[in-house]
């Protein structure tokens, strides 16, 4: 017995070694390399955890943590609810039905994302404020006793939801457009009603795509700083800033960040676990949904329904910004804005290419490695999105500065050449930082479409001796193109409006529109921030329309 036990132990070690050997293929190594590259900043921050929390940690736990947890969970819950209803609802309506202005609304629904959420918060405060637009209307109607206070946690949940729901809209629409055709046809042929086939068939099938969008929303909600701070709602992220800067304890801030990452991770795991229980079979139905027309009345009704979130998320803030821009144009407007727009555009475009490339490589290398461990590890790549931009920036500076300083010293001692930083203060560090931060934004839509591609075709192609890359370009790429395009749109917009990270890492001579908007807004010159904000929106509109066209044509 004893001997047998020993034997099996030896066996299991051998077996493990064998398994390790089998799994160590070049794809796993490539995957690990990319994950390491992307998570380096996160690891650099995590190492700080080992130093233990600062002395203010218990002060924070005693006085503030309950408030942080309460508010953050309230936001997670309220925003999920609002975003799911708006995002999935509008996606389904535009994918399934024909109604007036459907084509225009399809891309208008993406645009709320183009306004930084802190600017949306300011704009809404401007609407509901004393002397604000709504107040003026009420005064005109002799209703000035009515005042709605939006600056609280409910208002915050509303503002964040209305500016972030397009994440869910984009990912679920990509699914509806691309994958739902055949099944829907079958279910209508079997006489299943419209409602039933939506709730019983489409929703469960679209779940990975919907959840992918929802997770992006929640990560963004969790690390929002500007809007929460302005509305006076204390969340984890406002706490991180407080610990880091007001209490002067980076160690405590890192502990809070770790808690935040833990929450996000828990959300991802819950989703994974749930997804397993609803195995979706590989279905590569690429036939389009045939749009239903319906009666004139119903068409107009649907038009109105889809219009509501566009009005709330886009037209109202834009109108308020437009009014401010009109008031301040004389002082603020300057032709430099056009140059600034072009610069922002260029940076955002390069970054979206780089990030989408890395995300695709990450997903497919992990897939080709054919190793479940590697596949799970690849998920770590998206962590950067869960961390506030300012913290990511610090995380980027730790390894790149170490390299730069080493480089300066080496060049000086070996060749006597005095050099400056190689990466810090250059576009390279900035684009690297953006890629780390927005990997999740690129990863999720691509992965959720990639999951839908059945393995049978690429497998048979590989059996016939065609290489991984060729198979990818010939077979898989055309099928996941919608995911890739959606990812590019989202990353592009996110980079355009990104702030804290840009502030810390940008080179001296490069400026972005978001930085310009911040320069005004940070010093209570909210009205003056309107013009750069409108430029951000305008710059974002061009690729949104263009990429959306490609997406639909596909």
């Amino acid at each position: 017995m004893k001997q047998a036990g020993n034997n099996s132990d030896i066996f299991s070690i051998k077996a493990r070694l064998r398994r390790l050997k089998r799994d160590t293929n070049r794809w796993s190594i490539f995957t690990l390399a990319i994950v390491l590259f992307i998570t380096l900043p996160v690891i650099a921050i995590a190492v700080k955890l080992l130093e233990g929390p600062g002395e203010t940690w218990w002060h924070l736990v005693d006085n503030l943590l309950v408030d942080y947890i309460g508010n953050s969970f309230f936001l997670i819950f309220a925003c999920s609810l609002l975003v799911l209803i708006t995002g999935v609802g509008t996606a389904w309506l535009v994918a399934r039905f024909e109604f007036p202005f459907r084509k225009q609304l399809e891309w208008l629904l993406i645009l709320p994302l183009a306004i930084p959420s802190y600017i949306v918060a300011y704009a809404y405060a401007g609407v509901f404020d004393y002397g604000g637009s709504l107040d003026l209307i009420f005064r005109f109607l002799n209703l000035e006793f009515i005042r709605i206070d939006i600056m609280n946690k409910y208002g915050l949940a509303y503002v964040l939801s209305i500016s972030l729901f397009p994440y869910v809209y984009v990912s679920s629409r990509a699914f509806f457009l691309n994958q739902a055709g055949n099944l829907l046809e079958a279910s209508t042929m079997l006489g299943v009603g419209e409602f039933k086939s939506f709730f019983r068939l489409m929703l469960p099938l679209a779940r990975p795509a919907i959840i992918a969008g929802l997770i992006l929303v929640l990560m963004e909600v969790l690390n929002d700083y500007g809007a929460a701070q302005y509305f006076g709602v204390n969340t984890f992220t406002t706490g991180i800033f407080r610990a880091w800067f007001s209490l002067e304890e980076p160690e405590t801030a890192v502990y809070l960040s770790a808690l935040l990452i833990f929450i996000v991770f828990a959300l991802i795991l819950i989703e994974k676990w749930q997804r397993k229980s609803v195995q979706v079979s590989g279905n590569r139905a690429s036939r389009y949904i045939h749009r239903k027309t319906g009666t004139r009345l119903m068409q107009n009704l649907k038009f109105l329904l889809v219009l509501i979130p566009v009005i709330l998320g886009f037209f109202i803030p834009v109108a308020q910004l437009g009014y401010w821009a009109f008031l301040t144009a004389e002082q603020v407007f300057d032709f430099n804005f056009i140059q600034l727009s072009l610069q922002s555009f260029g940076i955002a475009f390069i970054t979206s290419l780089v990030t989408v490339l890395f995300a695709t490589l990450l997903i497919y290398f992990a897939k080709w490695s054919n190793t479940s461990g590697i596949k799970s590890i690849s998920k770590f790549g998206v962590l950067g999105y869960a961390i506030p931009g300012a913290v990511v920036a610090i995380g980027i500076m730790i390894p790149t500065l170490a390299f730069d300083k080493w480089f300066i010293v080496t060049m000086d001692s070996l060749f006597g050449i005095k050099t400056g930083f190689l990466f810090n203060g250059t576009l390279v560090a900035l684009v690297y930082a953006y890629s780390v931060r927005f990997m999740a934004v690129a990863h999720n839509p691509i992965e959720s479409t990639a999951l839908k591609v059945s393995n049978s075709i690429p497998d048979s192609s590989k059996m016939l001796g065609v290489g991984n890359f060729k198979t990818f370009f010939k077979i898989e790429f055309p099928l996941i193109k919608t995911g890739i395009l959606s990812a590019m749109i989202l990353v592009f917009i996110d980079v355009l409006k990104e702030l804290p990270l840009t502030l810390i890492l940008k080179p001296f001579h490069i400026n972005t529109l978001a930085v310009k908007a911040f320069e005004y807004a940070s010093d209570e010159m909210v009205m003056e921030a309107a013009i750069p904000s409108l430029f951000i929106i305008f710059t974002a509109t061009i690729p949104v329309i263009f990429l959306n066209k490609l997406l639909i044509k596909d």
């Binding site: 203010t56 002060h59 924070l60 006085n63 405060a125 404020d129 004393y130 002397g131 604000g132 107040d135 600056m151 609280n152 302005y230 509305f231 006076g232 204390n234 800033f241 880091w244 800067f245 007001s246 209490l247 002067e248 980076p250 008031l327 002082q331 140059q339 072009l342 610069q343 922002s344 555009f345 260029g346 475009f349 920036a393 610090i394 500076m397 730790i398 500065l401 300066i408 400056g420 930083f421 810090n424 250059t426 576009l427 804290p500 502030l503 810390i504 080179p507 001296f508 001579h509 490069i510 930085v515 911040f518 320069e519 940070s522 209570e524 009205m527 061009i542 690729p543 263009f546 066209k549």
Partner: protein, 348 residues
């Protein structure tokens, strides 16, 4: 569509590269004089001043705009190789933090030492005030009589229950005010004060200083604690509603019979490892010159630090006031403790 997009793209790349090239040129030609400024001041007037300095001195000004906390973090990580020459913040507390973090260096400049009053600069000459602002009480003209107001301490008295508007404790100006109260009255009293203020708040703290004034005008409360220059900006706003709001309140400078009204400065220091130290000193000297101080005073409604320059007409209307001469270094030293007291008092 495609062509326009490609055209746009090409153009944008050219522009991004062009600027990068310019930078390279600067580093290549060593003779080009420059000064690298990390600043938390984001005003148009500052940019004009920088341009003026460039024209007069032939020294190029390179700017990074961000929050002081992040700039300090950046400088400390960059260490000896940091390109920063000058750090500008909007409060003394953070300059003191930069000093104690070993990020600034002592500077000997007669101009700076003679022009700036001693309580508005660092005793070791690590940093210097550029402009002053006072934290004052704005009250509703129609509901409050000036005789009811006296000191910051009095804001804690019961008669102001549910009438006081003040922003969150995350704000550095509140933290500095709290630090000054700690220094003058002791920790124990300061905490009691904060607790009483929380009791008196008309609403949970939110928004910025301008929003506090608007809330007074809207009738949510009677008093607001704000910085002077925000009132100047409110009164000169492009939005007629904001001007109206500014006109329906009056300012009160507290503690005139005692230690004086709490003030803070926006200030600058030379970075410890400044690669262009001489230029950095010239730059700061320029900023406190009469010419530059006039620009600060008139476009941004701050009190000039150079006493030879008169404040803006609006500020003169508010009258002269006695200012608290507590050395501003004390605010930085006590900042962390102030924040912890805020938390214990439940001031959000």
């Amino acid at each position: 569509m495609k062509k326009t997009l490609i055209g746009l793209l090409a153009l944008s790349l050219v522009f991004s590269c062009k600027n990068a090239e310019e930078k390279d040129k600067n580093t290549e030609e060593e003779k080009t004089q420059e000064v690298n400024v990390y600043t938390h001041r984001h005003y148009e007037s500052d940019q004009e001043l920088f341009k003026q300095f460039e024209e007069e001195s032939g020294i190029t000004v390179n700017v990074i705009n961000a929050n002081a906390d992040e700039l300090i973090q950046k400088m400390s990580m960059e260490g000896e190789q940091s390109p920063a020459d000058v750090l500008i913040t909007v409060d003394a507390g953070r300059l003191e933090r930069a000093k104690s973090g070993g990020l600034l260096q002592a500077v000997s400049s007669k101009t700076l030492e003679e022009t700036i009053p001693s309580h508005l600069k660092d005793a070791d000459n690590h940093w210097f005030g550029l402009t002053k602002r006072a934290r004052v009480i704005a009250y509703a003209k129609d509901r409050v009589d000036e005789s009811e107001l006296s000191t910051y301490e009095d804001l804690a008295s019961e008669k102001w229950k549910n009438k006081l508007l003040i922003r969150s404790s995350g704000n550095i100006y509140n933290q500095s005010l709290m630090a000054s109260i700690m220094v003058h009255n002791g920790e124990e009293e300061a905490k009691k004060w904060a607790e009483a203020i929380v009791e008196n708040m008309a609403r949970a703290p939110k928004g910025n200083d301008r929003d506090q004034v608007k809330a007074v005008v809207a009738g949510e409360g009677d008093l607001a604690v704000v910085n002077t220059y925000y009132i100047g900006k409110l009164l000169n706003s492009e939005d007629p509603e904001e001007v109206k709001a500014g006109e329906s309140i009056k300012l009160f400078f507290p503690n005139q019979d005692g230690r004086g009204t709490h003030i803070n400065v926006s200030g600058a220091g030379v970075a410890k490892y400044a690669p262009n130290k001489e230029n950095a000193i010239k730059f700061i000297e320029f900023l406190i010159s009469e010419k530059a101080q006039k620009v600060f005073a008139h476009s941004n409604y701050e009190y000039p630090i150079n006493e030879a320059v008169a404040p803006a007409a609006l500020l003169q209307e508010w009258g002269e006031f006695k200012e608290d001469t507590l050395n501003l270094s004390k605010l930085g030293e006590n900042n962390k403790k102030a924040v912890m007291l805020f938390d214990e008092a439940g001031w959000k």
